[in-house]
Assembly symmetry: C2
Homo-oligomer: 137 residues x 2
Amino acid sequence: MSVPADSLSAMNSTLDTRAVAAAYVDALEARDWGRLTDLLAEDVVYEMPQTRERIRGRGALLQFNVEYPGDWHLSVRRLVADGPTAAVLMEARVDGETQEACVWLELSDQGRITRIVDYWPEPYEPPTGREHLVERW
Amino acid sequence: MSVPADSLSAMNSTLDTRAVAAAYVDALEARDWGRLTDLLAEDVVYEMPQTRERIRGRGALLQFNVEYPGDWHLSVRRLVADGPTAAVLMEARVDGETQEACVWLELSDQGRITRIVDYWPEPYEPPTGREHLVERW
């Protein structure tokens, strides 16, 4: 069977990206700062659009994670990888509470993470007027 | 060049999923309910974990979208597709305000959307103690 070389390359890139995205969460959870350093590009940019916060550079991002307060534990719930980009639905347990994060990753040609965009959606009360269509859990 | 058949199949599935995910957002934006119907599995499940709300079935989900209040406009900011799953970072403009949503999609073997999980992260104030590492925008 024959496929174009660029499709093959995209497929390999997806496999690598999937592995890097999983390793990123694993390294954070393990507090394995050496491994995390290897995964990140030196000029990585980390953004949290909800607070309009940005961290520039591997050094600052490592420090941010080292200093992050609480007994936090992370695991992957969903992982979608596509060429050099990935989306991770991450479960975060912090001091007994569970929250989910949507994490968007971009990788360089060398397979290092160059951009991380984190969303931390919070629970809220549903608006009225759609009770006839929804069930709650 | 030779690749295993299941890898080729995964690659084709990713292409289909990417197209379906983009068409889902387009059909919503266009209020094209016929096209949306064609994209959804009859037993599609739609979930909003932040409010713990669930909508079961294509009919109820169509009605939910038809009835959704406000002058809302949707577009795709990021789209990551991987076999039968996709993640979409969607921009929603509602009555002049912009919000982002993280949308997770699952497709059936027939290429119809069987599961949609929507997160709507809201802005919040950053905690103190990390000002030395972050910039704001």
